[in-house]
């Protein structure tokens, strides 16, 4: 177990810069998830920590060592790859024990460590199979087993679940979380799936275009997104954003609909903003959560509905923007129907129309 510090970390390929000076401190035993759309530099950052990519600038500290110039083998990490990268010519047992064999451990030690890892991951019956004879989920477990036998300082996961089907992904997500609780190592986990990030992370690091946009616990980034990018990236369905102008303590949308200013915001007259409402905070009346002190109401025409069982996601038009709203205790909804929606104003967000930054004081 170890702390990890990234200081002003830069990666560029010639003139093209892909990671622009990242600063991040990861505590011992912390589960940190780097999340962002593809091409945001999250995998590159992880590979620099692993030592698989050269560092163009800055510093990486693992434990108390600067590892900038150390080859991967001297960093004492373990990594789980997206395509598992199991050695196809070795049995599961040999795959698990490979790192210990390279480290010239005695056969007794190797067997003990392999058996322990196999026990934890329920791989014992598969030990003598080759990777080719395993299912996707089993391969994933072998890849994790290969990581845990070494008792590394830091675990690195590079989109480990993206090759699995939806059901298995949920299952493996739980297993990874359990594994972390059991082993307690520092984990850096890369994914583009915000649900994985929310469910697994102690802290989420949201990246975009080689910069860190926001760092925080899952609830922090969900409840207080710093800008519209985080607001729409985290949470499903994504937050609705409605352009408007502040006027007389109200927000006036493009079509003239006026919505009271959410509590806690003070805006200059005529300021152009974006109103952010999550689907959970805009619901058809009669199918909503109990009303709170600050409510607003709008009428919207339904364009589409997606029944999910316990709730229905209703798509409706407001001021020329498509809005997604949730309907609790759903009833069938007709396209074209006009419904009255309640908005929980105290849960709404305001962002600057130009910079996209949150206007929360």
């Amino acid at each position: 177990m170890a702390q990890v510090h990234l200081k002003n970390l830069v990666k560029s390929y010639g003139a093209l810069s892909v990671v622009h000076g990242i600063n991040l401190d990861i505590a011992e035993g912390e589960f940190v998830v780097l999340v962002g759309p593809s091409g945001c530099g999250k995998s590159t950052t992880l590979r620099m920590v692993a030592g698989l990519e050269d560092i163009s600038g800055g510093e990486i500290v693992i434990g108390d060592r600067v590892v900038n110039d150390l080859p991967p083998r001297e960093r004492n990490l373990a990594m789980v790859f997206q395509n598992y990268a199991l050695y196809p010519h070795m049995t599961v047992r040999e795959n698990l024990g490979f790192s210990l064999k390279i480290a010239k451990k005695s056969q007794g030690e190797i067997d003990a460590a392999v058996n322990e890892a196999a026990e934890i991951l329920a791989l014992t019956p598969l030990l003598d199979r080759k990777p080719g004879a395993l299912s996707g989920g089993q391969r994933q477990r072998v890849a994790m087993g290969r990581a845990i036998v070494r008792h590394p300082d830091v675990f690195l996961f590079d989109e480990p679940l993206s090759n699995l089907d939806a059901k298995l992904r949920t299952q493996m997500r739980v297993e990874i979380k359990k594994l972390h609780q059991k082993v307690g190592s520092t984990v850096i986990y890369v994914t583009h799936d915000q649900i994985e990030a929310m469910t697994l992370a102690d802290r989420i690091v949201i990246m975009r275009d080689g910069h860190i946009v926001q760092v925080g616990t899952p609830l922090e980034v969900f409840e207080n997104p710093v800008n519209t990018f985080v607001a729409t990236f985290i949470g499903s369905p994504p937050m609705n954003l409605l352009p408007g102008v502040a006027k007389d303590g109200q927000i006036v949308l493009a079509d003239g609909t006026a919505i009271p200013l959410p509590p806690g915001y003070k805006l200059a007259e005529g300021r152009r903003i974006q109103l952010g409402i999550r689907a959970d905070n805009i619901m058809p009346e009669g199918h909503a959560l109990p009303p709170t002190a600050h409510m607003a109401h709008v009428d919207m025409k339904v364009t589409l509905s997606e029944p999910l069982g316990t709730e229905t996601v209703v798509y409706a038009q407001l001021s020329g923007t498509e809005v997604q709203a949730k309907m609790l205790n759903p009833r069938p909804v007709q396209t074209g129907e006009v419904l009255r929606f309640a908005i929980a104003l105290d849960k709404c967000h305001l962002f600057d129309a130009d910079t996209g930054l949150s206007l929360k004081a």
Binding site: Y87, H89, I102, R150
Partner: protein
Amino acid sequence: MASASEHRLRKRLLKWGHFIGLFLAMCVICIPGLWVVLNSFRPTVEIMAKPPVWIPNELNLDHYRAMFGGAGEGGIPVWTYFRNSLIISVTSTLIALLIGMAGGYAFARYKFKGKAMTFVMLMATRAVPGVALSLPVFIIFGRTGLIDTHLGMILVYVALNVPFTIWLIDGFFRQVPKELAEAAEIDGCTRWQAFWKVEFPVARAGIASAGIFAFLTSWNEYALASQLTRSVSSKTMPVGLLDFTSQFTLNWGGMCALAVLMIVPALILTFLVQKHLIAGLTFGGVKG
């Protein structure tokens, strides 16, 4: 119902057509070989008979006996030729494989300036028939004293085989995900260990098939060897076949006997690595 039985009939006809086609193709490939083997056991009279004798009346080992016999009895230095062939083929194959592995790995894994051009140039050398270069090679070898030496022949065959082995092995290394080597490095390997312990074993089938091709090319090559070897000290078996020609006669039986001796090791080797070869060819075949 009618259409079902019609369908079955068509399927059966197709199957038989397939068999017959394959049989004819195999005949075209195998009969000359069989004829060579057969002739090596038949008296010269029967070989030369007109009309040809298809079913042999008599089989004996006379040609073999003569071939291994003294100089006066039509004998030739078979063992020396065999040794020359073996030394030249094995050494040139090993060198071509080493260069092929290094080159193939570099082409598959690294980016460098002029990579595409270098690769195209390497492949373009395959378009030049080796014999076309025999005169320049002959002159250079004549000046450097490499004519009629094992070293000279090894050099020629290495040059002949390297482009092909690089191309084949490049294809195999491309199929090995680069994460395997990365995983090995994180698991504690040096770059070198990662290659030998992970990437090499995974690509082994392909490397073996490249080896077979290189070996067979050197083992069977005649045109260049006939020009660049002069004496018993470096003549290979294909060139040795010419020992059975004299001014007015051709000793077909003897030639066939030596040809059989040439085929046998190649055949054994091919059978030994057949599994690798087929796996290797289909595996590598994906890459265009």
